[in-house]
Subunit: 122 residues, 2 copies
DNA sequence: CGGAATCCCTGCCGATACTG
DNA sequence: CAGTATCGGCAGGGATTCCG
C-alpha cells in the first residue's frame, strides 16, 4: 500500500496534521513531555506556555484528553485542582515532533532567507 | 538553549507547523519526494493529488517555491508548461514528514478509538 | 494550460464574562 | 482556580472567472 495514505479522505497523516497543526498542541505536548512522568496543573501549564489564552489551553487539553494523548486527574478539593500528564500514546508522539523541531531549528533560517529573496518588497 | 524554541514568538517549530499544517503542503511534498529527482508538471501534480482545487495547488506551490522548498521550471511554449521538483532543502523536509506519517499510520487508529470512547453520543 | 484575482463561507482563535 | 459559553475578528481555503 503506497497510495493508501495521504490520498484517502480519512488519511492518517491528514488527520494528525489537523490536530498537531493547532496553534498550541505541539507546545503543550512538548511541555508535558518535558515534565514527564510528572504531572502539571492547569496554572502551571499556563505559566509554561506564554501567550496561551485561558480558553485555548482548556480547549487544547480537552481535545488531547479526548484523543487519549493526555490523562486528566481531578483533585476533589475547594478550590478544584486538575493535573495533566501525557499518556504513553501522547509520549510517543513527542518523538516525531522532536524530529520536526530539529528540522525546523536547523533549516528554518534557510527558509526565511529564501522568502526574503523571493519577496524583497512588501 | 532548552527553552529558546517553541516559546519564542518567532519559534521555528511554530513557523514550520504554520506552513506544513496547510491542507495540501504535506501531500505535495510527499508526491514530489516520490517523484524525485524527476519533475512533475502542474497537471500531473493535480492528477496525483485528488481533491485539490486549482487555486490551492497553485497557491501551495507558490508558497513552497517562495520558501525555497521547490524549484519552478517554466517551458516558454504555447501553451505554457511548468514543472516542479523538490530542492535539496525540500527533500530534506520529507524525512521528518515521513516520521510523522509513520506515527500517524501506527497510532491514529488508537486515537480514533479513544475519541469514540470519549464521545459515544453526538 | 498555468495561474492570478475575486467572492464567500467556514472554522480557528482571542477577549470577555459567567458557573462551581 | 478550573472550565464553559458567547461573540467577533481574521485567515484558510473552495468555486468561479479572467489573463498570459
Amino acid at each position: 500500500m503506497t497510495r493508501g495514505d495521504i490520498f484517502d479522505p480519512a488519511c492518517p497523516t491528514r488527520l494528525l496534521l489537523d490536530r498537531v497543526g493547532g496553534k498550541w498542541v505541539a507546545m503543550a505536548v512538548k511541555v508535558l513531555a518535558e515534565a514527564h512522568p510528572g504531572e502539571l496543573g492547569f496554572a502551571e501549564l499556563e505559566r509554561r506556555m506564554p501567550g496561551v489564552s485561558h480558553k485555548m489551553l482548556a480547549q487544547t487539553l480537552r481535545t488531547l484528553a479526548g484523543d487519549g494523548l493526555v490523562m486528566r486527574r481531578v483533585e476533589p478539593v475547594i478550590p478544584p485542582r486538575v493535573h495533566y500528564r501525557l499518556t504513553p500514546l501522547g509520549l510517543s508522539l513527542d518523538a516525531p515532533l522532536a524530529v520536526l523541531r530539529e528540522w525546523a531549528e536547523t533549516h528554518m533560517a534557510e527558509v526565511a532567507a529564501h522568502r526574503r529573496i523571493a519577496s524583497p518588497a512588501e
